[in-house]
Amino acid sequence: MNHLPLIIKREYLAKVKNKSFILMTFLSPLIVVALLSLVAYLTSVNNEKVRTITVLDESGFLNETLVSTDQMIYEYLSDISLEEAKKVSIENNSYGLLHLPAFALDEVSSQIRFYSEESPSLSLISNLESKIEKRIGELKLKKLGVDLSKIKAAKTNIDMNQENFEGVKTSKTGSFLKLMFGGAAGYLLFMFIIIYGNLIMRSVIEEKTSRIIEVIISSVKPIQLMLGKIFGTSLAGITQFAIWIILIGVLSVAASFFFGVDLSATPQQEMMAGAISDASTNSELQALISEFHSLPLLNLVIAFILFFTGGYLLYSSLYAAIGAAVDNETDTQQFLMPVVMLLVVGFYVGFFTALEDPHGTISTVFSYIPFTSPIVMLIRIPFGVPIWEQALSFSILIITFMLTVWTAAKIYRVGILMYGKKPTYKELIKWLNY
């Protein structure tokens, strides 16, 4: 008799009706949006702050090199001593004092000082440095008799057009888009496994501690119970994720509407905006759109569904087996370690190696190893992976999944009836023969 739907329904409802689950579902988006808003707010406050820098240029080299902007005002002093300039700087409550002493052009570079009350921000200093460097460099060239206008004329800006051998154009923007797709998919899978794998494990332990397990498996096969648990919990997880995404979307809009906080000011989004603003001209924007269309969207969606499901099921059967092997959550550590390690290896290879070099040896190899392949492959696919490679990797994943479920079910079957002592790895292997 097939009781799977009944079990899935119960597991789903048990999760969804759980108070802490409901709380998490509705509270997490609130917290996330609140934190994002806070960061965005602080960033905007930071940006709005106007800094004044007092400049004492005794050398006379600067000569309007530093031009005031909305956020930075340069106040030039002249004909006063350094000590007095410091006083003026403090009185004016300016951010700091830039001092160029009266030295010859060749020696001045090592004598420039910046005085401030607190240690200045790194970006501000390097900004000043590069401006002064450029100015003094130009002056030196001039002194050597070089015509600056010729240098300007000789300056070249290269924006390489990328194109593959089939003649399909790609661009940096396109790479960024791929990076976003792959990264998001890999990260989603990683989070999903961590959160809901644990949930499955806990629910197995709960059945053991409440001693209902023997009653249930006198009616259904343990493997049915295990699969029902995995599917039911996953459905609850998908529900939770969907609510999260919707709520975060709605709340972000609401937050930016009511409080005027621009959430796009968060660092990651700025990065994206930066990449897109590279598409400064119309043609590049069009390139972006065509880039989006040229992504193997159908392949992406199908691969996402397959690898996500495969990877998740593979790991969740391991979590279920661990739950069955122990009596309480504190005992899970020794068995969880290797599982989490595998997951983390997949994550790191995916996010550091595969994003950097999607077709390198390491990325390719790890996209075949079943425990890392779901994450690594999902990250690689947007950059173009031949279908046969995907199919091969997926086949390996499915074969491993079936072997793992078989093993996990064995451990599960024996483990759920074992109480008392904490099993060792050796005993787990013995259980496979019971």
Binding site: H3, R211, V215, I216, S218, S219, L417
Partner: protein
């Protein structure tokens, strides 16, 4: 009498440990079958094999004429020793869920549950969570869930643990009623007084082997020692004692009586009948008390286990 369940030559090993060694039992239809034995004798393993939770290494089980197969779970109701319910699930939902797992439809389950809940006067528990109920209350729910699908074979492992005497009696009466309605019951326990009260047949397991089985009365008959407990009064008790000792094998006995009697256990030799003893006593003393010593299930249990350990 026909047999409902027949387990033949069952052996089961867990690694090095042998849990069952060539055990066979026959459970007659409409009987209450006591599965007895010290801790770790293999009772639970045997019960799990009957429930298809564990598979035997060797041997086979036949239920109602057919080899055991997965569909049979709905003909079996099992109350395990390690039992419990989902703590945070409501009583009603939970009972419905477990009943449906046993193959009842939602409607059937609901109908029968209403009947049982009214019978036990616990309808107001329906929407409570198990964690709000006491242990005894939860046990009642568990009992109802076990018998709800009207199984042919009921297996109770220590059914009375966790019940107060009143509720234990209630459950005992229900078990007897179920037997009278045609169910067969396998009953595993350490409590020998309930074995005396309930069981028609028993099997005794010890160190993974079956060391005794059969009809309880037959077993008692075969274990009786032809000993009679007597209480006698006479004008000269000392002479009487000597007279009896010359004729029979007698030892002092302990029992309650209102008279200041001579209390003896008299064991008859094979050539003597109870009537010979009565005639002899009648001629020499006043008989206040005369009863055959029937071995209790407890005595048989302890003695058999001891003998087999030697």
């Amino acid at each position: 009498m026909s047999t409902l369940l027949e387990a033949t030559n069952i052996s089961k090993n867990f690694g090095e440990f042998q849990a069952l060694n060539d055990v066979s039992i026959q459970v007659p239809k409409h009987s209450i079958f006591g599965l007895l034995g010290p801790n770790g004798a293999g009772k639970t393993t045997l019960i799990r094999i009957i429930n298809q939770i564990t598979m035997p290494d060797v041997g086979h089980v036949i239920l109602d004429g057919e080899p055991l197969k997965p569909e049979h779970v709905q003909y079996i109701g099992y109350l395990p020793e390690e039992r419990g319910l989902y703590k945070s699930m409501k009583v009603g939902e939970q009972a419905l869920y477990l009943a449906q797992l046993k193959g009842l439809s939602y409607k059937q389950a609901k109908q029968r549950l209403n009947h049982w809940f009214e019978k036990f006067e616990i309808t107001h528990w329906w929407d409570k969570k198990i964690e709000e109920l006491s242990k005894g209350m939860a046990q009642k729910i568990q009992f109802i869930v076990t018998v709800l699908h009207q199984p042919k074979l009921l297996i109770f492992d220590e059914p009375f643990s966790g019940f107060d005497p009143i509720n234990a009696n209630l459950i005992k009466d229900e078990i007897l009623k179920l037997r009278d309605k045609g169910a067969t019951v396998i009953f595993s326990t350490h409590r020998m007084e309930s074995v005396e009260e309930l069981c028609d047949h028993i099997a005794l397991l010890h160190q993974s082997k079956k060391i005794l089985d059969g009809n309880l009365l037959d077993i008692k008959r075969s274990h009786k020692t032809n000993t009679f407990q007597v209480g006698l009064s006479s004008s000269n008790l000392n002479d009487l004692k000597i007279q009896i000792a010359e004729r029979f094998d007698s030892t002092a006995a302990e029992f309650k009586s209102l008279e200041n009697d001579l209390k003896l256990n008299i064991k008859l030799s094979t050539s003597d009948t109870p009537n010979d003893l009565l005639t002899f006593l009648n001629a020499n003393a006043t008989i206040n008390h005369f009863v055959e010593v029937i071995p209790s299930a407890n005595d048989i249990f302890i003695q058999t286990v001891k003998n087999s350990s030697l």
